[in-house]
Every structure is written in C-alpha cells, then in structure tokens.
Amino acid sequence: MRILKKGAEASIILGDWFGEDAIFKVRELKSYRQSNIDTKIRVFRTLHEASFLTEAKKIGVITPLVYFVDRQKAEIVMQFVNGLRLKDIVNASDTSISKWFEEVGRYVARLHEANIIHGDITTSNFLISEDKLSMIDFGLSFYSNKIEDKAVDIHLLRTVLQSANTDLSSKLMDHVFRGYFELSNRNKVNDFLKRLKIVERRGRYKFNE
C-alpha cells in the first residue's frame, strides 16, 4: 500500500486487489467539523461517486472501473489508471493539448446530455493514459437537467483555468467549447451561452462594470 495523494477530500492509495494494482480512495474523518456533517458528507459522496463512475462509463466517458465500495469506511476500490494528470501537461506546451481539451468538452457534453453534473471539473480530474482520457473524482456529482447547473459546471472549469493557467485560459476554453458544442444539442447552444454569462455576472464584483 502506497499513498499516491493526500487530497483535500480523500486519500488516494495504491494497493493490491486480488493480484491487480488498484486505487483505494478513502474519505477520512475530518475532525474539524461536526461528526453529523462529516458522516453525512463522507458516506453520501462515496456512494454517489461509485454510482456516477459507473453511469458515466455507460455513456462513453472513460472512468476507472469500480471493484468494491465500503460504506462504513467511506472507501471505493477501483481500477488504477496509470497516467499523467491533464494539469501536469497543460504547461508543457504540448501540441496535443488542444486535442485533450476538446475531449474534455466532449466528455462534459456527454455527461450533461445525460443530466449528470460532474461538480468539480478541474485539470486534476482528468488522466491521460495510453492515449486515452479518463475522468475521475465524481464525489461532487449530481443529477440535474437544469441549464443553470450545467453552466455552473463549465464556469468552475473556467475559473480554475483562469487562476492556474492565466495566459492560456481563454484558448483552452475555446477548445473545451468546440468539443462541448460538437456533441450537445444544437438548439440549446445559445441558451447555454446566455446562461453562462448570467452565472458569470452573478459572481460578486464583476469585470468591466
């Protein structure tokens, strides 16, 4: 057993599952918050994540295969995807970066068409392995058919890109949109863009007042 990452929410541990490499994602107890809140969050997100990993796979979004879910320990055992995070190659000035960000757009579009909101679309939550993109961390995912929730989903990605990859962010978002609109319902595009503007404007203190 080796800890790969001590994330904000959970620890990602590489271990053995019946002779295969596997990821053990454990949501550890957080002593800083009320135990009622803590248990609610950890168990709820673990069960949800496991089911969304499976749901996403059904609609053509590559995700790790779920082997086992332990409700008591708030733990998911899943397939180990051995690859780089999208975050790690963004600044590597790789020419294939546009391809991967378009694929990000397509993945999100597929989820949104199925009314799945990922809830935490960041460049840390995409892995590239064997020339394929995998999407991970569905801990904040939920079902919604609201255009509002879909716009917020995309808005979060833009915020992350703006803060971490400031100089590239608008170009990267163009690629995301290209992939996203390629697969989403055409007559919804304008509504979506309109809503995205509203979401942006609602944030406190805006650009170009």
């Binding site: 904000a8 979060l156 406190r204």
Partner: protein, 347 residues
C-alpha cells in the same frame, strides 16, 4: 511571478527614505483614517482611528444614512489621527482612499475627502481596492510570505492566491457572503448588525446540531439556501442557540472544505485568514486543525485590524505609491463593483 517579485523588491530597496501615507476607508459602515509610514520594506501604523455607523436593530446598512454618518465624522477622525501621529498634512507623501468595491454613497464621502486633501495640499492621490487592501495588511502584519488567503467579511467571501501579478480567485461565494449570512440571520432574529461577535457567543451555548443544507460546488460555496433554512427554523420556534450553532458549524465547514480543496490544489504552505469574520475563534480553530492535516502554517490577522480600517488603505496606498501609482482627480470616480482580481500587484 518571480520576475515580478524581483522588480518590486528592487523598487523597495531603492526607497530607503521614509514615506508617509494617509489612508481613508469608507466602503460600508466604517469611516476609518490611518497614517502609515514605511522605511524600505518595513511598515509602521502610526495611528488608526474609526467610527462605525450602527443601523437600528433589525435593520441593515442604509447607504444614505451611513454616508451622512461618514460626512459628519470625517474631519474629527482625520484630526484625531494627525494628533496621534504628531504629523501635519504637509508631512504626508500621499493620500489613499478606498475607491471600491462598496456602497456608492459611502465610497463617495471618502473619495471627496481624499480628493480635497490631495488637491489642497498638492499630494498624489492613490486609489485602493478595499479587498486587496484587507489582504495586504493581513500579509504584512502576520509576516506571511506566499499564502493562500481566505478573505471573509460582510462584503467578501473569497479564496485567493497571488499568481501572475494579481490576486487570483480560486473560490468564492456564488451568492451572499458569510458576513451577510450571519447578519441577515441576526436581523431576522431581531439583533442589530454586525451580528458576528454575538453570533459566536450564542453559538457557543449549544452543541445540538440540526441538519441544514450544505452546498459546496467545486471550490465555491453558496449560502442563500442555508439562510432560508435557518430562517425557517427560527419561525418554527427552535432555540436560537441551536440554530446559531448549526448555522455556524455548517457554513464554516463549507468554507473550510473549499479552502482545503484550494490548499490542496495550489499546494501552498501557508493559509492566511483576513477580513471581519477572521475574528471568529471557531473558524480560526477549524482552519488551524485543517492546516495541520496538510502540514501548512496557519496565520490570522489580529482582531484589532480584522475589520474595515484606515490602516489597510494607508498601507496598500503606500505600496501602490511606491509602485508608481498616482491618479488624476478626473479618474477618481468610485468603483462599486471593483473585483480584486482586476488589480495589478505593482509592489
């Protein structure tokens, strides 16, 4: 970023001479004035005074009434800081004011006072972003080096870090701020605003947690649903201690979780807590305990300077002045919705 840092350090070392700035804060309920001096890279707050407008119980800030208050108090507070520092306006090198964000009528009082002093005494006029000023004051006073910052107050709920020459927003509230959540709930329960200190005291009297909606979206939080649910409990006749306790635990857990995500994403080794709500001990302890898990240091601005004050404006004003900022009166209109990530960090 490192390049920018080098430039600013050079600038500071160039000016070993003593510089003095008078700063005027008037974004919301506080009219504050302060005189800050700098020698090289050290800053000293020579004097800091303020008067706070208090709305009637159960009411929020009335912008017109608050601006009237500020106009009435302005000259006496300026005289007070001049007396305390033993300086006269002739000795001051620059006049800084909070240009935004904030309530228009309140901002305009500070701006008018600053323009007048600047024009009459022929001093450079420095426009300061109130939120950036909160952060910079906290950073200097705590000695933080490269922190992730949680700024929490009545006007702000943001998680920021310095990157590419600006304070970048990593997470923020999608609707109301933590201060608004606390104050608006307080007003519903008949308490006057700001309710922060009483809210903390009342919360401490209970350990009975009532389930409330918990909304974190990525690194962002949303408090409006929580406010509605808390108000509903009040109508149902649930004890105020229990509601305050549950409201505090839920909203702070949301904040700490968002900060934790940002800390993990940015891999910063320091967390700095700033803004009026930084005075809350429960929030400090929760953040401290979270930072320990991630081997990050935790710093919090002292209570005295956590709320709105002139010192933040004077200090950031000085930094801007050293960076070459100086505006003409014709460009000094107030900016009510001025985002902190629009400000270039030129110091």
């Amino acid at each position: 970023m490192s390049k920018l840092l080098e430039i600013s350090i050079e600038k500071k070392e160039d000016s070993e001479t003593r510089l003095v700035c008078l700063g005027i804060e008037s974004t919301a309920h506080t009219f504050g004035v302060s005189i800050v001096e700098s020698k090289g890279r050290t800053f000293n707050i020579l004097s800091d005074a303020k008067e706070i407008y208090r709305p009637e119980e159960g009411k929020g800030i009335h912008p017109r009434e608050a601006s009237k208050h500020h106009a009435q108090k302005a000259s006496s507070i300026i005289l007070r800081v001049l007396n305390e520092s033993g300086l006269s306006l002739v000795d001051v090198d620059a006049i800084a004011f909070s240009q935004g964000p904030g309530l228009g009528p309140c901002l305009r009082i500070g701006a008018v006072v600053a323009r007048t002093l600047s024009a009459y005494y022929q001093k450079p006029l420095i426009p300061v972003n109130h939120a950036v000023a909160h952060i910079e004051l906290a950073k200097i006073l705590t000695g933080a080096i490269d922190p992730l910052v949680l700024l929490v107050s009545g006007g702000h709920t943001v998680i920021v870090a310095l990157s590419f020459g600006r304070w970048r927003i990593l997470g923020e509230t999608l609707d109301i701020t933590i201060g608004q959540l606390i104050d608006q709930f307080g007003r519903e329960a008949g308490y006057s605003s700001p309710f922060g200190r009483e809210f903390e005291q009342i919360s401490c009297k209970s350990t009975n947690y009532i389930d409330l909606p918990y909304t974190v979206k990525g690194n962002d939080v949303s408090f409006s649903g929580l406010l509605t649910a808390a108000k509903k409990l009040l109508k149902e006749g649930i004890a105020i201690e229990d509601i305050c306790f549950s409201l505090q635990e839920t909203s702070f857990a949301m904040l700490v979780e968002s900060v934790e995500r940002a800390l993990s994403f940015t891999e910063k080794k320091e967390l700095l807590l700033a803004g009026g709500v930084a005075a809350n001990k429960t929030l400090q302890n929760m953040l401290k305990s979270m930072c320990q898990i991630h081997d990050s240091g935790f710093l919090s601005i002292q209570r005295e300077y956590s709320g709105d004050c002139g010192a933040q404006i004077a200090l950031n004003g000085l930094q801007l002045f050293k960076g070459g900022m100086n505006i003409d009166i014709s460009n000094s209109s107030v900016r009510q919705s001025w985002r902190l990530d629009e400000v270039d960090v030129i110091w």
